[in-house]
């Protein structure tokens, strides 16, 4: 059996291509910015894939390997509501099974929709314009910890060493 892929980072990007949450699990921790760039550049490939999937009338969420760069392999996934999930897996010389990657994506997707379902995200928001986009973005904001924790849980299952939740507050600033 091929080894389980190692998760370096995960990014959630809103349908309007704004970042919701980017979590890095890679050691050392200093090159977090790199994963922000990876998430951003992946959008190019994702949009291309979505376009070709739409042309083929496919409803496939999993967008397969987007590209490899330096030491990571970047995979993409788009939820039916067009939230993009991007995984950066450590590049190893082994076959990465699609079902494994899809399993991580599904876990991440679940973490996301459980978190967005939080009704308190919309507290204080103007009622008449309850737009999910704002709630989506605020789910990843520093104020709400549950999303982060759920994502970290998935990361921990994937073998990433996550420091205890104390360091969470500093990793994100939107």
């Amino acid at each position: 059996m091929p080894p389980q892929p190692r998760l370096n980072a995960v990014a959630f990007v809103s349908p309007q291509n704004h970042p919701i949450l980017i979590r890095t699990f890679a050691q050392p921790r200093q090159d977090e910015l790199k994963y922000h760039y990876i998430a951003h550049t992946s959008l190019d490939v994702i949009e291309e894939r979505i376009a070709s999937a739409q042309a083929a009338k496919s409803t496939e969420c999993y967008l397969s390997l987007l590209y490899t760069m330096e030491d990571v392999a970047v995979y993409g996934y788009v939820t039916p509501l067009r939230v993009k999930i991007i995984l950066a897996l450590a590049l190893t010389d082994a076959v990465v099974r699609d079902i494994d990657v899809i399993a991580i994506f599904k876990a991440m997707h679940t973490a996301y929709h459980l978190s967005v379902a939080n009704p308190f995200l919309k507290v204080n928001m103007p009622l008449e314009s309850v737009n999910d986009h704002a709630a989506m973005l605020s789910a990843g904001s520093a104020k709400w910890k549950a999303f982060r924790q759920r994502v970290d849980d998935v990361g921990r299952v994937m073998g990433a060493s996550i420091p205890s939740s104390t360091s969470n507050a500093s990793t994100q600033s939107h």
Binding site: L65, V96, V123, L137
Partner: protein, 1250 residues
């Protein structure tokens, strides 16, 4: 790839030497056809194949080298063949030859390849001129002698040619090279019969091969030259392959011999030279395998070549594994490394030729990994610049190889398919994986499961990018060494390559690599992408960084400007922040003060610090810049627009209510807050100008807090009081305009407006003046770029600050409206409306306002699905419409005055509720304020602001009912009239009326009054509309009696009977309806509740359509209703056969009985003559009644005798129905064709009077 010897990389092809073709003369055009031919041939041969790295086509083409006719080959051995040691001697390039560059332990040198590509051919083609006499005119007398002379001359020349060829042949055969001679001759000579003989002579004399060794060519056109070149190569390809195969065989023999006796080679060491180690057996293996690979490549056998290259590579890896075999940092070691890299590239290329992308990448990756491991052992691990330089070279070479490939045949695969792999394949893969089968299937199986990302081929841009990244690392390592060298800290000597490395312009190299990556990324962006190119932006960012590193700040700034645009738009602030920091450094270096100021303001908005852990650093930098410099232009204030980027201050305007009435004040709050994380406390803003929409005055806030050290509360509140549009000057308020970290100033006030309008805060302009700088920062309220935070909120208590969240949508503006008008609209009518009448609806309008108003009424009859024909309409005065009546004026109505008008609804058609919308619009002119100036800033149309409109709407649902209901039914009577004769001429007349066939219909019409209020009926008439088949004979209405024309109340009924004569003509098909021959018309009026009558209305309805039944065989009995005792009466029976096709055989019985009240005379039992279709027969009896009262007539039985099909020979009797014509009432034909009979008396009876 340029850093490797090109010989080791190029694609090899069989080499052909071409002699005897001169290069075109430098000047002047020649007309000699042979010179032209020679030039063309040379061009065609030389240009057909370019030396290139990527050439996967196998087209039997040669690498053609033009040479001199007498070219000499390099010697095979150093010593002449006569020497006794010749057999033991080695090639000059062999490591065994002391003078060789490879002596004593070299592996293989590029010169060896060069020998085989440039110096030794596989075939040698010589172009030679066949001797011809000049075409001179000759005298007829001396023919014989001249001919002889000429022949001798020819023979002599040919012999010379043969000698030359034979000499050449000798040298080439030594090396096993095939010699081919192409003789150039004129077209004339080609036709000469003596040519064959000459050619045979030449071939024999010169010892040429019998096959493919001698060609003759005459000057031909360009395309024919192409054909010739192709056929020449095709003919020579096989000998060339044979040549290389021989070489391979020779090398394989040597390798086998060598592997048996490991080191049997005597080493001939020159006396006096230092003893050095000879080439190890592994080295020999590498050498032989490499040679065999090359020869296979010459032959175009890619798979064989790949196999040998792999063997050579494996042996090389063994050699590198031991420092004893290949001591690091020696010349041989460096050569071997280059060889290994080149073999790797060859292997990758051969895989890629075959579209084995993942195998190629796998080999390339393992090469890099393997040699990275070796490098660590050699002391040039990842901490040295040498390692990174080597790695960058690998990536680059691979990228270049891909680029070469993509330019011709290589296609970069896509790793995404929209169709997921079939489940069967995936299942098979899992099974194969679990059962541990490691077969050839495995690779395919794994592909179905997923792919190895490390072996997913991407476009070359990625590899250039990797190369650039490696070069960046190389530069870092180099700078590290250089620093420690400069500081003199190190005790060890600098690394060996340091001196060389110092000469390298790393940044230029990085830049070049990034630029190539950038171009490729751009080229591989799909055409239909929406112009984002985020990948290219990322590379561009790296390029900008590199420019920054190399001190080209202006170039870097240009890149940053472009990149920042996208990052700002997409709100990826995490990417924008480092960019801004670098950009600011560039601006500082360039001394561009305005740019610095702009960037510092943007950085303040992002909460960026120029120095870590000092939250004041950014504003201090800004203050320092402002104080120490002057702007480029002092006249115009510097405008810093934050509409795209994060603004320096978050602003939010909230109005307490979404809409107010004219003149009513509404409270608002404008909060301005600084970003968290950065302090703005030292910045002094001179003023803040608030621009509101419409005629509102601008409010200027002047800074009152001049003490920069004063303590700043978190929330400050400034009262702006009441603001309303007025002619007076703009307002000025003093306010502290300083912000702490995350500080907020809330401006509170109220606003009111005398005109309907939408009031909002349009923009704020923040001004700061410092020295010569005059900076204006426009801000837009609610300019938070993020979807949510901060949410709008209302400061409800100042100390401690508490907020109420504003959860409305339209919180940032307030709509000012007019007061609603007090207009009362009443609608009265007497429901229900009757279909057919004009129904009055009274609309009463009363002005209860305190102002005089002009009123207009609109009425709309809602269209209904049932009313397709537009039968309904409404009327108001003279205006009449099926849907909308618009703008019926009621005039100006003074306060307290009421008026009314009547709307008529005429409904027709079906019964349903009619819906009418009535809208009463009231409007009044505002008193025009004369002093109001028409300023261009406040474009307000008079219709909107001066006219005060309001509207009152009523919707009525008017039920409509039928005032009367009608019920009709028809019965049909047979006629006793006999059929007209066949030749009766009257039947041909137009007005001939024959009702004998069908008879008559009697229609009973019952009219009932259903109007709840009752109606008065003015008249009922039956209008006759005689048709071809039916006409009204008479009706009960004919006896005019006016007593029914009275008031009908609900439930009152009126009945009329109408007799209609029917004529069946030939043109009426059976089963078709007869149109009604007339209609009733009822004129009526509604009885009003107060006793009067409304306007007359008319209801029309027609008689029903008629559907008379038809008979078959029938007997009609005509009995007089009364008889006198003892007076004879006649009983008549008519038997009619109305069957269309069958004749009838009718038997009649009169069954007298003793109890009968009659004495009968006539037929008792008898058969009637056969009745043909349409015929009838009458039977008469005389009866004498002998009893009084209602007596039954004797029973008569009529039967039809006929033979049923199937019942052979047996007569069956069918009883024929006897109808008493006095009580003949048939209903009409129903849908299923049956006829409901009227009530039939059991037995016909006669009233016998005494």
């Amino acid at each position: 790839m340029n850093s490797y010897p090109p010989e080791l990389l190029t694609q090899l092809a069989p080499v052909m030497f071409v002699g005897g073709l001169d290069p075109p003369p430098a000047s002047g055009k020649t007309t000699d056809p042979f010179v032209v031919l020679s030039h063309r041939l040379r061009e065609a041969l030389v240009n057909q194949r370019k030396v290139a790295v990527w050439q996967p086509e196998k087209k039997k083409t040669f690498q053609v080298v033009p040479v001199d006719k007498d070219v000499r080959f390099p010697p095979r051995r150093l010593i002449p063949p006569e020497h006794p040691d010749y057999a033991n001697a080695h090639s000059p390039l062999s490591p065994l030859t002391p003078s060789s560059p490879l002596y004593p332990d070299g592996l293989i040198a590029p010169i060896w390849i060069r020998k085989h590509t440039r110096l030794v051919p596989s075939v040698f083609v010589i172009f030679m001129r066949l001797f011809e006499h000049a075409p001179t005119s000759r005298a007829p007398l001396e023919t014989a002698e001249v001919d002889r002379e000429r022949e001798a001359e020819e023979r002599r020349r040919d012999t010379e040619l043969c000698a030359e060829i034979a000499a050449r042949k000798k040298t080439v055969s030594e090396r096993g090279v095939k010699l081919t001679v192409v003789l150039l001759a004129s077209r004339k000579l080609l036709d000469d019969p003596s040519l064959d003989g000459r050619l045979t002579y030449i071939r024999r004399q010169s010892g040429l091969d019998p096959r493919a060794a001698l060609f003759v060519l005459s000057p031909v056109s360009q395309s024919e030259i192409g054909d010739f070149v192709r056929s020449l190569q095709e003919a020579l390809y096989e000998p060339a392959i044979e040549y290389y195969t021989n070489h391979s065989k020779r090398v394989r023999r040597k390798r086998n011999r060598h592997s048996q006796v490991a080191s049997s080679y005597p080493i001939t060491q020159p006396i006096g030279s230092a003893p050095s180690r000879p080439l190890r057996p592994e080295g020999w293996t590498v050498r032989y395998e490499y040679k065999m690979a090359c020869f296979a490549e010459f032959r175009g056998e890619d798979e064989v070549a790949l196999k040998h290259y792999q063997d050579a590579y494996a042996s090389l890896a063994i050699m590198f594994g031991s420092t004893a075999i290949l001591p690091p940092r020696t010349k041989r070691w460096a050569e071997a490394k280059v060889l290994a890299d080149c073999i790797n590239l060859k292997i990758c290329k051969l895989y890629l030729y075959n579209n084995e992308h993942s195998l190629a990448l796998a080999h390339h990756n393992s090469h890099m990994r393997k040699f990275a491991d070796f490098s660590r052992g050699w002391g040039i691990g990842e901490e040295t610049f040498e390692f990174w330089s080597w790695l960058a070279r690998q990536h680059r070479a691979f990228a270049e190889l891909l680029e070469h490939g993509t330019r011709s045949t290589l296609k970069i695969p896509t790793h995404f398919s929209t169709t997921p792999p079939s489940h069967a394949a995936a299942a098979a893969a899992v099974q194969a994986l679990e059962s541990g089968q490691r077969g050839a299937l495995e690779l395919e199986a794994m592909r179905a499961l997923g792919l190895n990302p490390n072996q997913a081929l991407q476009h070359p841009g990625f590899y250039y990018y990797m190369s650039a990244r490696s070069t960046e690392r190389r530069r870092e390592r180099f700078l590290g060494v250089a620093r420690s060298e400069a500081e003199g800290e190190t005790t060890t000597a600098p690394p060996p390559g340091f001196a060389n490395e110092q000469k390298v312009d790393h940044l230029a190299l990085i830049l070049e690599l990034y630029t190539r990556a950038y171009d490729l990324f751009k080229a591989y962006t799909p055409k239909d992408a929406h112009g984002h190119g985020r990948l290219t932006l990322w590379i561009a960012y790296r390029i900008a960084q590199t420019y920054y590193e190399s001190g080209k700040f202006d170039l870097a700034v240009r890149f940053f400007e472009r990149i920042a645009k996208t990052y700002r738009r997409e709100q990826w602030d995490s990417l924008l922040r480092p960019l801004l920091t670098t950009w600011y450094s560039c601006a500082q270096q360039m001394g561009d003060m305005e740019l610095s100021v702009r960037l510092l303001f943007e950085m303040l908005g992002h909460g960026l610090k120029t120095q870590d852990d000092d939250e004041d650093s950014t504003q201090e930098d800004l203050l320092a810049v402002l104080k120490s410099s002057v702007p480029s232009s002092t006249e115009e204030p510097l405008l810093i627009d934050h509409s795209e980027s994060e603004p320096i201050l978050q602003t939010c305007a909230v109005f307490w209510r979404p809409d107010v009435l004219v003149g009513e004040p509404v409270a608002f709050q404008l909060s301005v807050s600084s970003p968290t994380g950065v302090s703005l406390s030292s910045l002094t803003f001179t003023s803040l100008v608030i621009h509101m929409s419409g005629d509102m005055p601008t409010i200027t806030l002047r800074n009152s807090s001049l003490d920069p050290s004063a303590e700043l509360p978190q929330v400050q509140k400034v009262e702006l009081d009441h603001i309303m549009p007025s002619g007076e000057d703009d307002k000025e308020v003093q306010a502290p305009l300083r912000f702490g970290v995350g500080g907020t100033i809330v401006f509170c006030g109220t606003v009111s407006c005398e005109m309907p309008a939408t009031v909002k805060i349009e923009k704020l302009v923040l001004t700061t003046k410092e020295g010569n700088w005059n900076i204006q920062i426009p801000l837009r309220p609610l300019s938070s770029r993020h979807g949510g935070a901060p949410y709008p909120r209302w400061l409800s208590s100042f100390d401690p600050p508490t907020y109420i969240p504003v959860r409305r949508d339209q919180y940032s503006s307030v709509v000012v409206r007019h007061r609603p008008h007090k207009v009362q609209v009443s609608v009265t009518y007497n429901a229900p409306a009757y279909i057919g009448e004009e129904f009055p609806i009274t609309v009463g309008v009363s002005n209860q306002d305190d102002k005089e108003m002009e009123m207009i009424v609109d009425a709309l009859l809602q269209p209904a699905e049932l009313d397709e024909l537009g039968e309904n309409h409404i009327r108001m005065g003279d205006e009449r419409s099926t849907s909308l009546i618009k703008g019926v004026s009621l005039g100006t109505i003074a306060p307290g005055v009421s008026t009314s008008m009547i709307l008529y609804l005429s409904s027709a058609g079906a019964v349903y509720d009619r819906v009418i919308d009535i809208s009463v619009q009231s409007h009044r002119e505002m008193p025009a304020t004369a002093e109001e100036p028409e300023s261009p800033q406040s474009p307000k149309s008079p219709t909107q602001s001066r006219i005060d409109r309001d509207e009152t709407i009523r919707t009525l649902v008017v039920p409509s009912v039928q005032p009367i209901s009608i019920e009709q039914h028809a019965v049909y009577m047979r006629s006793l009239k006999s059929q007209p004769g066949l030749a009766d001429l009257t039947t041909y007349e137009d007005n001939y009326w024959d009702d004998g066939d069908v008879g008559e219909a009697i229609v009973t019409t019952t009219i009932a009054c259903t109007a709840p209020s009752g109606i008065i009926v003015d008249s009922i008439t039956l209008t006759k509309q005689d048709g071809r088949h039916a006409k009204i004979v008479d009706s009960a209405l004919d006896q005019v009696m006016d007593d029914f024309l009275a008031e009908w109340l609900t439930g009152d009924e009126f009945c009329d009977r109408c007799r209609i004569s029917l004529a069946a003509r030939d043109d009426l098909p059976e089963g078709q309806d007869i149109p009604p021959p007339g209609s009733y018309e009822l004129t009526w009026r509604r009885i009003l509740p107060e006793g009067g009558y409304s306007t007359p209305a008319t209801t029309r309805f027609s008689l029903p359509t008629l559907r008379p039944p038809r008979d078959g065989l029938i007997a009609l009995l005509d009995v007089p209703p009364t008889a006198q005792l003892h007076t004879p009466l006649t009983l008549r029976l008519v038997v009619r056969n109305r069957q269309p096709t069958r004749s009838a055989n009718v038997v009649v019985h009169l069954e007298t009985d003793n109890s009968d009240a009659f004495i009968a005379a006539g037929l008792r039992n008898g058969r009637l003559p056969i009745l043909l279709p349409g015929a009838e027969e009458t039977v008469l009896w005389r009866l004498v009644p002998v009893e009084c009262g209602f007596v039954r007539i004797p029973r008569i039985r009529v039967a039809d005798r006929r033979t049923d099909p199937g019942a052979e020979g047996e007569l069956q009797e069918r009883i024929v129905r006897i109808v008493d014509v006095r009580a003949d009432e048939r209903r009409e034909v129903k849908e299923d064709g049956t006829v409901e009979e009227g009530p039939q008396l059991a037995e016909p009876v006669i009233l016998v009077l005494p």
